[in-house]
Symmetry: C5
Subunit: 370 residues, 5 copies
């Protein structure tokens, strides 16, 4: 039966549903503080790069040894250290030691199932987020675990996969476009988080288009597939919602933070990102409401059609069943059936049947079934 | 199939649904602080006008250059600068520089997708709102992005399109009607926001009428189109709700503000606008509840009618199917069928059929189907 | 079709649904502070009466001119000024001037669509409420806009229509029953508000009775009208709820108020009214929950009955359709049909049909359809 | 029709639904402070008893006159005065005078419709509760209005009916079991309230059993009565919920109270009762959720069965209607029908009919209807 | 009828539903402070063991007498006393006396129905939790009542059953793996609670798998059993939710606690457990949402199939009923039926019937039923 097969030309973004629970259980029984990478298995080596810049100049390069790190941090410029890949827990641990990070932070950095959260240690602020990236090619949304550590003049970022999303920011630093080179590492953190949130809008736009397509389809020619698409989209919204809501708390925490690490003028920008987050939540909720309304409409139109089908059956059956009965009566073979021998019996019976039909039609007209 | 075509004479206000996500994504990847106009493409030049007034006199005119602006602001009277059109980001930027506005504010002024919000910088208060305008002619609701900057003795307003809504206020200033000429720029801000909120009531009134019409239709003669109208209205309410709810926070913020820019006596008026906002929210929620109830009633009446259709079919079929069977039996051509040769066999069979019919009717009466 | 006509003997209280939006739009475009009466058109002149009393004596009379007012207020006794009719905005305005009331208050007094609210100006407390009055005669609930201004030793009340609800209190003052003559104007305000809230209970009692009647009907003999009554009651509850909920805030504000105008011992009584308000809200919510449950039960019993109807049809059709087919077969006129010439063919065919019927009956018994 | 008659062997506790609104309206129009008993009419005289105890000794007896009361209260021991019956407002009033209670408290004591509440006057704490008592005999839950006044060394309790619930506590005082004789009147208040809350658990246990029975029935053999039982239980839960929720506030208020009347070590016990209240609320909500799930399951299984019924009808009708048509064709009496005269026409037609049947069966098998 | 029998191969974890109310009522009427064990009846003796450790060494053993206890606690090392079995209230009481615990705590320790809670006495912190353990073998989830008392340098734990969950921690202490030997008793408490929470993830993982299996089944071949599985899972979620939600408050209380008993660095770890709890709640809510969506999809697909069944019936019946009528007409035995004697009457009638059939098919095509 084809009832519940998905159409092959589904154009909506597909979420790779994370098997949340499965991965968490890897850690059961291990002493807390043990770094366990819970993401997909990866082979490539972890790459650690740095960018050091102020208004006048910038330099960038790859960090080969942990010792190198400390030498960079003491400088007055902004130092951005980016770690591509969190599957090599040894590297994470040595970075943690070098910057004297709390061990539980390191756990959160490598735990890809960690919920978005932000925490203000006095010396540094720790933020962890989900970056949703939509690939047009295979229409797939991938979720990536991102962590930021914002210190007095350094920013360390951890990415699950080497990705190109942050390259926009790197480009701006290189060319000195915008205010990024004039500003501190808090502005850099803002710019990166803003880029992450922007990715949500791309997905929401795509979903918005699909919602509108489905609605149009529902309006003009509702099909069995429409129901499945609504169901599937509702399901996606459950997961998207779960990603977006915790952001409210995280970004809101940064906005309201009175940490000395975030300068007041940068705080204003975090306010902006917070607003964008609220707007993203609004959109998710709006789509959910629309999908619920569409489901109601779909179900009602099914009921309506069933009603229509039933009416056709009832009209035809109600008219012809009595007529067939009459025909049956005069098909009986009793020897003594006077009507059969009447001259105009046959014509009379047609008249009777016509009258019955007309009465039925009038009855249906009054019931507004015709 | 006509099932889901909208009736051509839909009289309810139509919202031009903003494609929220699409426009936001224009900005993805640009450095924060870049002014990007996200509204419809516009060609006409931006027009900047001013009104300067106190209790005794007033003057008005068009501002040709930015330098002019500063000269006006130093005067002790109230200065109202109105910018019609926000698509020329250059002009916005030079105004921002002249009044030393925070760059993120300028972004919000030109971003037509920005959520309503208010923020109190110490030197000025920034408010941004959606103005919903209902045009009777084509029954269309258009959304316009409005921003206000309330300084110590000046008010700057930004409108997306040159519109006539604010002309009411201009008229009052010119004629000196009401208390507007006796009051400061905070009262002017109040008068403008009050005018914006009033527009919501016009739309809500129109929707209220449509809700009542649909309800009446549902009561007297529910049609397939009624369902679609309910769906469509529910959908409109989702968008209206999304516009109205954030106002609560914005106007509430102005009401509770302890900024020196809002005099205490004007604060009382903002309390009033806040109350109107709450009332508008109440109305939106009431309509939503009513529409849900109407959908339930519609679905129940479909079920009821289906039931009625089924009953008619069942009664007719249940009575005539056994009779037809009996007629069929005596239409058989067996040579040895004694009943056929009985003198009164035919009349007897009619009697049997009458008795069966009567038993059926009694059965249906007892079941209350007749 | 009779499907959705309301039964003529509807015994529940009917709410005159206020056309909220329509009236509000009268004010659109007028300068704030303009007094606009938004209620029904009225012709009779506004009547202003006073009662002055303390523990020993009382006097009452009609106030002819505004100048009279001030002379009364300076006395140490409690002065209650009652204004019957708010459609003459001139009178309201002159009272406002005499007592130096904030202009926005005057607006709220004459705006019959104003939401219930209370505000504490330091010199006086302003309260506005909806009084719902149930007239047994035509079973109609009318809503009246009531405002109170509680000053240091005076209370001004504004009523939309000259009504008899407050006469109970007047009687108590005249006869000196209860503690009213021993107490201040805050106690008078309490007594009046308590009387207003009591009216809600009368309506809730009536609705409670109707809910119980409908439930009983639903239990014994559910009809098509039951559905409509449930719908209609749900709709009434939406409006009642909208009236009751804001009271929570208003009365709660009076209860928690630390204004010097409300003496501590009177405050305790406001606590009591607050409790009654909460209880009224509880009752509204309980009725809503019950109505939802009743709708579910109604829908389920429709489904159940449809099921029953279908079963009867299916049993009859399933038994007789095959039998009719068999009869049809032996009604065919083929020349070469050996069975027709068998001696006991006819009896055999009856046997076959009996066996088929019995098998069917057994099948239905096993399916528990019989 | 038997559709909605309740089964005679309903084993669940029946709530005597209080006619909330009706009783309250008795008081409409009376001056506040008038004591009006709103419960059932009672004839028996009010009985007032006392118990005086400390760790060493105890005495008990009946109080005949109000003057006696004061002499008891001055003693250093714990004095517990219990009033059985609140319909004699004169007695309540004289107690109120003797202990200088606020008049509004007396009103709450005799108003059986009063919502549970607690209030801390500095000299004493007032608590009013609903005691739900389940009588196994007639399976009826009765609601009783209980009030407590906790003074420095006395506790006054008011009961609507002379009841045996408090006898457990009296027994403990007499025998000196537990810590009650060693503790103050606050502990006595705790012990009484704890006893009241325990009664809720007895009802909840009974309901829990019924819920499980119904679920089992729903699983094995869903009947029409199952639906009614679910509806009835849901309705009971609405009332139980209304009784349980306000307890949260009342007991929570006692728990958090910093009144000197409640010693710190007793406060810990109130914490415990609070926990039990929360747990009772949890259980009510759990049962509500389960009942909603059961209603869904019931409705779905109705749909499923309707589907099954329809399939049987469709299969039988779809197979035999075409066959009957064929038989009908060859039952026609046209003179010129060559097939009729074919030697094996009759056998051929059986073959055709067999092939049609087989095709139908294959079609249904593919549709998975068979 | 097989409608509501559960499939035998149900692979989801089964919760042993605690009969909450029944057990609580055991205590009704007993003086507060009486220790009543409310769990299952157990025979084996209670076993009390200890572990004493610091960074350098550790010792462990069984405690035979209560006097022994005190000698251990005075030492500077961490002392962990574990009580396996809470059914012997005498032992609990003597522990309570030895450590001067508040009597209400002892009640909570032995009351297996006690809701999770935490309370900060100044000298010690009391925590009680539910440990859910999933046994793969019989796929059963058992709930165990766990209590912890965290003193300055000792930790006492109470388990309902001797279990192996805490053995992981014992192993770590013995081998000195992780930081546990270097840390205080607060860290030990954290490690134990973390282990308890981890067990929830194992159950959630299992449920997640079942949810996905059911969804897949629903997509490819929805069956009657699918509905039951959805219902059953929803029911499990109600109970799981009831267990998980109170944890939020308990663990959150430990996280925010400013007790001196929890060192700041350990507090950070409690933050982590809190996060895991929130995530578990998130997952429970996500599964609930998914199950609701699945129920909607199931019901819609039933409606869809009913529609399909109805269409087949209607098409067949609507085509053949009129044809059968026509055949019936010419099967009548009237003597005077001219058509019967026409040369090509029979062929003509076939033509008529063919035309009718074609018209019907066209009609259905237009209705999109074919």
């Amino acid at each position: 039966m084809k009832l519940l097969k998905f159409p092959s030309i589904m154009k909506m973004p597909k979420f790779k549903l994370p098997k949340v629970a499965k991965k968490r259980t890897v850690k059961v029984g291990l002493p807390p503080g043990t770094l366990v990478y819970t993401g997909e298995v990866r082979d490539e080596p972890v790459r650690t790069t740095y960018m050091i810049y102020d208004a006048e100049h910038y330099e960038e390069g790859e960090i080969k040894s942990i010792e190198e790190l400390n030498s960079h941090v003491d400088k007055p410029e902004v130092t951005w250290i980016n770690v591509d890949g969190i599957h090599d827990t040894g590297i994470i641990e040595s970075i943690g030691n070098a910057f004297k990070l709390h061990p539980s932070i390191l756990e959160d950095i490598v735990d890809t199932e960690q919920r978005p959260r932000m925490e203000d240690f006095d010396d540094y602020i720790f933020v962890t987020l989900k970056m949703l990236v939509y690939k047009e090619k295979n229409r797939e949304v991938t979720s990536e675990h991102i962590s930021l550590i914002l210190g007095p003049n350094y920013l360390i970022t951890f990415q699950e996969r080497p990705g190109d999303i942050f390259d926009i920011i790197r480009g701006r630093i290189r060319t000195g476009k915008g205010r990024i080179r004039q500003s501190g590492d808090d502005y850099l953190a803002y710019a990166l988080i803003d880029t992450v949130i922007d990715q949500y809008y791309i997905i929401l736009e795509r979903i918005g288009e699909v919602v509108e397509e489905i609605e149009e389809e529902l309006m003009s020619r509702p099909k069995i597939e429409t129901l499945q698409q609504i169901y599937y989209l509702k399901r996606e919204m459950i997961f998207l919602r779960k990603s977006v809501w915790p952001l409210r708390e995280v970004i809101g925490g940064l906005d309201r933070s009175d940490s000395a690490l975030i300068k007041q003028e940068t705080g204003r920008f975090f306010r902006d990102v917070y607003d964008h987050t609220i707007q993203a939540i609004d959109m998710v909720e709006t789509y959910r409401d629309m999908l619920s309304g569409m489901l109601d409409l779909y179900l009602s139109s099914i009921s309506n059609r069933m009603n229509e089908v039933m009416k056709v059956l009832t009209i035809i059956a109600t008219i012809f069943i009595p007529l067939t009965f009459i025909a049956g009566v005069y098909g009986m073979n009793f020897l003594n059936m006077p009507e059969l021998r009447w001259e105009y019996g046959y014509y009379l019976i047609w008249l009777v049947m016509l009258i019955i039909t007309m009465l039925m039609v009038i009855y249906f007209k009054r019931k507004r079934w015709l």
